[in-house]
């Protein structure tokens, strides 16, 4: 189970929630304000955040927006004293995984945290893969990129050579380097890797 960040302006409630989750063997970190949370937490690290909606200055919804403003593997769960449907819908639309009413049952929360944990790891993985892919792509020379685009379009080496005004042999060398740099064995794998990323 990943770390769980708890944000609640009431220190007593925060401490008791912490106490309960620690009873379940879950590591938690408590924060009494949104600002505190944003300052102290590494947003790139996969984790689960349980956010109280009613807070002074920056409330839970604003914090949710701030948190998800840039890609992060942290999965937010919203917790509120008196919620309503409109608020719940809004929260989920904005990227919260769930919307819970206080006080939440420990068992139920544990289930959700497990799920959120898995989701966070998945997100972290996806984000890591994307980063690797991006760095590999960045390592390609401009000529290799030209060749890659034409290879992915299914063109023959002969055609590519003609289009780029280079010899067929040179195309073959570029193709080999390209596959090595992208850490794939063949063009089919290359297509698969690239299909997982946004254009």
């Amino acid at each position: 189970m990943l770390d769980v960040y708890l944000v609640d302006d009431d220190p007593d409630v925060l401490a008791s929630l912490k106490w309960m989750l620690e009873g379940l063997g879950i590591r938690t970190r408590g924060f009494v304000s949104a600002a505190d949370f944003l300052q102290s937490v590494d947003l790139a690290k996969p984790a689960v955040a349980v956010l109280d909606v009613q807070m002074p200055d920056m409330d839970g919804m604003s914090l949710l927006d701030a948190l998800l403003a840039s890609p992060t593997p942290i999965v937010p769960l919203m917790l509120t004293g008196h919620g309503n449907i409109a608020m719940a819908v809004k929260a989920i639309q904005r990227g919260a995984m769930d919307f819970l009413e206080k006080p939440v049952d420990g068992d139920k929360l544990q289930q959700l945290l497990k799920k959120a944990s898995a989701l966070a790891l998945e997100r972290a993985d996806t984000q890591t893969q994307a980063a690797v892919r991006a760095s590999r792509l960045a390592s390609l020379s401009p000529r290799e990129v030209d060749v890659m685009h034409r290879v992915l379009e299914g063109k023959l080496n002969k055609t590519i050579a003609a289009e780029l005004f280079i010899s067929q042999r040179t195309v073959e060398i570029h193709r080999k380097n390209l596959l090595e740099k992208m850490a794939v064995n063949n063009v089919a794998e290359l297509a698969f890797v690239l299909s997982g990323m946004p254009k």
């Binding site: 007593d12 106490w19 989750l21 009613q54 409330d59 604003s62 006080p103």
Partner: protein, 596 residues
């Protein structure tokens, strides 16, 4: 004035003719013929011209008033009448031709056809009575005096009385033709007519006759003196003496006496009885005096009458105006009452709504305050449960009990909260009108601060719950007014505009969806500290000693229920004008506002 006038007239009369007026009811020519010889006699005696004028009672009045007469010959009644106003005095009395005593020569006779019986004066009322003229002395006036002595009124008590004019013999003809029952005639007229043979002897009779020894004719009344010569006040005594002397010299049987129908002239007789008669008759409406008074008074009476009429018309007009004004006032009062009632009703509704909202908000606030510790208890209990080993089942059961008790409390709080929540009812309203209505609701407060809000209202129509939005506005406005309680020159500005630009920087609330129109309420009060500002929309956070700290919470809840957002910011202190305090509350609302 009369003395002066008298002197001048005396001068005139010393050279001019002696003017003598003769009162006559009969034909003017006949009168002048009768007196011509007497005038000639006077001219010879006085060696001055003498003018004789035949005058009717009216023309005699006029001539006396104009002072164009020196002497006049008339019956005693008229002569006495001029005594008071014109200083007339009787010089001589005429002696009747038939030798009657001059002091008892005139009377009134009630002549009837022979055989007609009239037993009492009262019985006359049922008769057809004729007389010549109401001013004739020998006929009517003496008769009227007799009536008055008996307490009768000839006008009122004699419905059959009519005046037929002269000559007097025509009255006898009427009796003869049975056109009348009784004729009022001077004494001796009937006897003279009979003597002339106009009617057969024994045709007529005199009723209610009086015993009159030594009087040749039948008479029904007292006897009065005969015709008199009077001088007027302005006539000189010398001329009067000369005229009296000349007339006393008229011989019986002379031409003058024969033509005039008299025997001669005597010294004046006692006219006391004429005075008494005059006194008796002064009351009658056909008296000259009364008529004169009436004539003189007529214009005044008319003027007074007209005045009264105008006054009455004015009174009516005023009355009408009063009625109209009263009606207008009544309508006005009714309208005012209706307005007042509507206003009271509005205010009552407002306070009721506020009470309900407050109750809801209190329940909500309390439930929040209770939920926090309950959540703490639940978390702690469950944390304990997780830490217990399997063999401590008794404690586990007890802690399970704690959990279910907490859940029960939780459930109760939720029920209370949902019970107190107010369902909204949305309708399409003019937001600018709503703001104006709200201002009228807090008008007394504005008046107290002598504050006129500056309004910049765009016409906006939107769907909202007017009752709830009024609550928001009143709360915000009253807060603004409270903040300005100490300010010398309070200023309140309300702006309603449609939002076209992106979200304003003041908004910290992420709850705002798409802001379509915005209400801004700006005051120049004391503003808020940053700490107060950050907790403005939290329950039980009032800065006021008597506040519950729910007003702004309610506002936030309502605005958010409308899908909008409410935010507060202190006004920038570095303004062009220098130090500016105050708070700006901005309410952003979504929906599709339509420009009205």
């Amino acid at each position: 004035m009369p003395a002066q006038q008298g002197a001048s007239l005396a001068n005139v009369s010393a050279s001019g003719p002696v003017r003598i007026g003769i009162l006559s009811f009969a034909d003017e020519e006949a009168t002048l013929d009768a007196w011509r010889e007497t005038a000639l006699h006077l001219e010879q005696q006085l060696r001055r011209p003498v003018t004789v004028l035949a005058l009717t009672p009216a023309t005699l009045d006029a001539a006396v008033a104009a002072g164009t007469l020196d002497f006049f010959i008339s019956n005693q009644f008229v002569a006495v009448g001029y005594k008071k106003d014109w200083g007339a005095s009787q010089l001589l009395t005429l002696i009747p031709a038939d030798g009657r005593e001059p002091d008892k020569a005139v009377g009134s006779a009630l002549v009837v056809r022979a055989g007609t019986r009239v037993n009492s004066w009262k019985a006359l009322s049922s008769q057809r009575i004729v007389s010549s003229d109401p001013r004739a002395f020998g006929g009517f006036l003496i008769f009227a005096g007799e009536m008055a002595k008996r307490g009768l009124d000839p006008q009122a008590d004699l419905p059959g009385l009519s005046f037929v004019g002269f000559p007097q013999t025509s009255l006898l003809s009427k009796l003869w033709r049975n056109e009348a029952d009784v004729a009022i005639l001077p004494a001796c007229v009937m006897e003279q007519a009979a003597a002339r043979g106009d009617f057969p002897p024994g045709t007529f009779d005199v009723v209610l006759a009086k015993d009159s020894a030594g009087f040749g004719c039948a008479v029904s009344s007292e006897l009065y003196p005969y015709t008199a010569l009077s001088k007027l006040g302005q006539t000189s005594g010398k001329l009067a003496t000369q005229v009296a002397k000349a007339l006393l010299g008229v011989e019986a049987g002379s031409r003058a006496a024969l033509d005039g129908g008299y025997q001669g002239w005597s010294v004046p007789v006692n006219d006391n009885r004429v005075f008494a008669l005059k006194h008796l008759l002064r009351e009658w409406p056909f008296q000259t005096n009364w008529q004169r008074v009436a004539n003189a008074a007529m214009p005044w009476l008319a003027a007074i009458g007209l005045g009264l009429l105008l006054g009455y018309l004015h009174h009516l007009r005023i009355k009408r105006l009063v009625v109209k004004r009263t009606e207008a006032l009544v309508t006005e009062i009714d309208q005012h009452r209706a307005t007042q009632k509507a206003f009271n009703e509005q205010q009552r509704q407002f306070y009721r709504a506020q009470r309900v909202l407050l109750t809801g908000e209190m329940a909500s606030g309390i439930s929040h305050e209770l939920k926090q510790p309950l959540a703490g208890i639940r978390y702690l209990t469950q944390g304990c449960l997780y830490r217990l080993s399997e063999d401590e089942s008794e404690i586990k059961t007890a802690l399970g009990g704690v959990l279910s008790q907490v859940d029960r409390a939780q459930h109760t709080i939720d029920r209370l909260r949902s019970f107190c929540q107010q369902p909204s009812c949305y309708e399409l309203v003019r937001v600018d009108k709503l703001i104006l209505d709200t201002l009228s609701l807090i008008a007394p407060e504005l008046k107290r601060l002598k504050l006129t809000p500056a309004l910049e209202l765009t016409k906006v129509k939107a769907r909202l719950d007017p009752a709830l939005m009024t609550q928001v506005l009143v709360n915000v406005l009253l807060n603004a007014l409270d903040a300005m309680a100490e300010v010398a020159a309070p200023e309140l500005k309300i702006v309603l505009d449609t939002e076209t630009e992106t979200k304003s920087a003041t908004e910290t609330d992420s709850g705002a969806g798409h802001c379509q129109y915005r209400i801004r309420i700006i005051d120049n009060g004391c503003g808020l500290t940053p700490a107060q500002l950050s907790r403005l929309f939290f329950p039980f956070e009032s800065t006021k000693s008597d506040g519950l700290g729910l007003g702004m919470v309610i506002c936030k809840r309502i605005v958010e229920e409308h899908g909008g957002s409410i935010s507060a910011s202190n006004r920038a202190t570095a303004d062009a004008c220098g130090d500016i305090h105050g708070l700006e509350i901005s309410i952003c609302l979504p929906g599709s506002p339509t420009h009205a």
